[in-house]
Amino acid sequence: MSKKETQPAMHIRRTAGDRVFDTCVIVLFLAFTFICIFPFYYLLINTISDNDLVTSGRVNFFPMLKNAAGDAVFGVQINNYLALRNVQDLGSSILVTVARTLLGTALMVVTSAWAGYLVTKQKMWKRSFWYRFLVITMYFNAGLVPWYMNMLMMGLTDNFLAYIIPGMVAPYNIILVKTYIESIPGSLEESAVIDGAGTLKVWLKIILPLSVPILATIAIFGAVGNWNSFQDSLLLMNNRPDLYTLQHRLYIYLNSSSNLGAMMSQGGTVSEQAAASMLNQRVIQYTVSMVSIIPILLVYPFMQRYFVKGIMLGAVKG
């Protein structure tokens, strides 16, 4: 249809071909967006519906509950979420994941801010060498097994610190911070130095407040990365199931063929066992999935404004 379009200029008036094209584009995007969103919605309604209806596949588009007569009617319940308290090992993995997200992100941001500031200092001894020393690690790694053997050697297996310390130096984030700080007028820093402020003070009082936007960017991406972390837990925590991250725990739940009811706390009270029987394997899987998605969806609106900054600055390499 584009070939037939002959009308020049005056593009504000749309031809019939234009309109068809626009409609197609819109339909295409709506379809793709639906595909992106529907699974999350479907997951959600499966966790807040009646579990029997879920098991028999009667929850397709809306959350359903049974009424007194046993028919499926629209409705929601949150008992599955409450029953998660009894799912074994879930609590510790949530705690570990929250702890690593908070601590790991905070340390990473501070380190990136500090290193990113220092590498802007032309006066540093062998500055460009050390900068390259840091940056080159982005493009090169020794391989999974040597890395694992190194962590073993450092005593970082079965150790919570393994979640935090290796992630502190993030070269990409250092580049982002450096690029950002370079865009801050140097005169601000100079005047502080003239007033007698040392490097640390300049960093604390001038640089940090001014680089809040970029620090927020790396913090939010770092937090999401920490929350989603799975591989290090899988590789390093073989003997410490209590240190598994949430994603690792979920991975185990998803792969356990046995009924997860068996994973509920053993020997609970009668009411706990009743709660346990309410949950079947699928519902536990769905509910735990939902629990690990919700925090991401909650920070998502705040993240959005940093997307472009995060990507674009990275393209401007140091």
Partner: protein, 496 residues
């Protein structure tokens, strides 16, 4: 004298030009010793095999739990006495203090003459302190041995002098000698008005040093693990001349039929999946260009927001979603059964190995296309609007505008992305394939990264997996530099 003092370091350096060697040796030793404190393999305090092998000197000094966590019975039965453990901990702390004093001295030795002279007193005092700490460790070792003999449990408590003890003795000796020489060859600052100062370049460097050390430990030190490729290493075993096998494992990539077979299959999967990814790498551009054609910015932004969400969930969660849509009791089947009233709809689509490559591509696209498009959306926003106006005046319709303005405007970014993905053709990560892997699709889904994980961590074939990892790293670096070279030659811009 006044003049040289004012000139500060340069004059001092000129004077001691011939004697820099001990000073640098001292600094390097102090750096190494300072790092060794946190290094479990050279823990001088591990005087019993029952002490956690993952404990460094630092941990041994501060955490009683770490020392004792695998000696419950030994302690309860008093085969090792509490007081000896306390002695050991004190000894470790003393050693540590001595070494750290040397390290501080090494930092100060970067300052002006006055600072250097003062700083170099630290190793002269600190190295003997470290030595005293080592003597105390030895004392604890003797006490434990004596007591162990007394109760006849020497075999159980396994007292030994670790390698780290020797290492630290060498450190202490070296630090003392080099520190002393450096001290004696540094002439004292005669002018009392000169203050202790450090040139800014060294000050900044010292501030940076912790970051550099961390980066070294976690990004460079793993390369030391490449040595496993040259030995017949078994987990828990040792490496030494007796199991050195040279390039045997490298050879096995080319002459061991089973390995070659596996590698061929894995490489095929890797290259096909990466190839499919590269072949569809224009999709984000199409996404961005088409999205830009929608007039309502509100609609645009909503679409962009919603299609980016999948990028931020982990592959495990993607798999959870896959289960809830495609498994036996997932959406597809229950939709077929309960809405379309088909009978017998209970296929578990995840267990079907057909079209695995394509499915993986689709999952990757589902997760990534919205996110990848953002950089192009930003690129489109950055294109000069005057170009479009001029084109329209010249009679171009919107498709011509896209073809002649938008696309060429995005090509540079696309080239960078393309070159990067070509450079990373062997690394498609393992998470996606690990979570979707099952008994049915194992043969077609296993990519190189997953293979390394399976043989290295799963089957404990450390040497072979190291060899595969080394080859992959080297090829990756070569590809990256080639891509960079091409980029430089063609576009006059480097990508790394």
């Amino acid at each position: 004298m006044q003049g040289t003092a004012k000139a500060g370091i340069p004059a001092a350096e000129r004077q001691s030009a011939g004697l820099k060697a001990p000073l640098w040796l001292f600094r390097l030793t102090a750096l190494a010793a300072g790092m060794a404190i946190f290094f479990p393999p050279v823990n001088p305090g591990r005087i019993s095999e029952k002490i956690n092998s993952a404990a460094s000197l630092f941990t041994t000094g501060i955490s009683r739990d770490t020392i004792t966590n695998s000696m419950g019975r030994i302690l309860r039965s008093q085969w090792i006495q509490d007081q000896d453990i306390t002695l050991l901990m004190i000894a470790c702390v003393v050693t540590m203090v001595g070494v750290l004093a040397c390290a501080a001295g090494a930092c100060m030795s970067l300052g002006n003459r006055k600072m250097r002279k003062t700083g170099l007193i630290l190793p002269i005092a600190g190295a003997p302190v470290a030595g005293a700490g080592l003597l105390l460790i030895h004392k604890a070792y003797q006490n434990m041995t004596a007591h162990g003999e007394e109760v006849g449990k020497l075999d159980t408590i396994k007292i030994m002098l670790p390698d780290g003890f020797t290492v630290f003795c060498v450190f202490a000796g070296l630090l003392f000698v080099t520190g002393l020489i450096a001290f004696l060859t540094t002439r004292p600052e005669k002018d009392p008005a000169v203050k202790m100062e450090m040139e800014e370049k060294y000050r900044l460097f010292l501030m940076m040093l912790p970051v550099i050390i961390l980066s070294f430990i976690f990004a460079y030190l793993p390369i030391w693990g490449w040595r496993f490729a040259f030995f017949d290493y078994k987990p828990g075993g040792a490496i030494g001349p007796e199991n050195y096998v040279g390039l045997k494992w490298f050879g096995s990539l080319f002459n061991d039929p089973a390995t070659m077979n596996d590698l061929g299959r894995v490489l095929r999967n890797t290259l096909i999946m990466s190839g499919l990814g590269i072949a569809t790498s224009w999709l984000p551009i199409a996404f961005a260009v088409l999205l830009a054609e929608i007039r309502s910015t509100k609609f645009q932004r909503t679409i962009q927001t919603l299609t980016t969400i999948p990028n931020f969930i982990s592959w495990v969660l993607v798999y959870a979603i896959a289960i809830c849509i495609f498994s036996t009791d997932g959406f597809i089947n229950s939709f077929l059964t309960n809405v379309l009233h088909r009978t017998g709809a209970n296929t578990n689509y995840l267990q079907i190995a057909d079209h695995t490559w394509l499915k993986m591509l689709l999952w990757g696209t589902w997760k990534g296309v919205g996110w990848s498009a953002i950089i192009y959306i930003a690129g489109i926003a950055g294109i000069d609007q005057q170009l479009y106006e001029a084109a329209r005046v010249d009679g171009a319709n919107r498709f011509r505008c896209i073809w002649h303005i938008t696309i060429p405007g995005l090509i540079p970014t696309y080239m960078v992305m393309l070159l990067m993905s070509i450079a990373g053709i062997l690394s498609n990560g393992m998470e996606q394939y690990l979570v979707f892997e099952n008994a049915m699709n194992k043969d077609v889904i296993e990519v190189l990264d997953l293979y390394v994980y399976h043989i290295g961590i799963g089957q404990n074939q450390i040497p072979l997996s190291t060899v595969v990892g080394i080859s992959k790293s080297l090829i990756g670096v070569t590809l990256l530099f080639s891509a960079n070279g091409i980029s430089k030659a063609v576009r006059g811009e480097s990508i790394i």
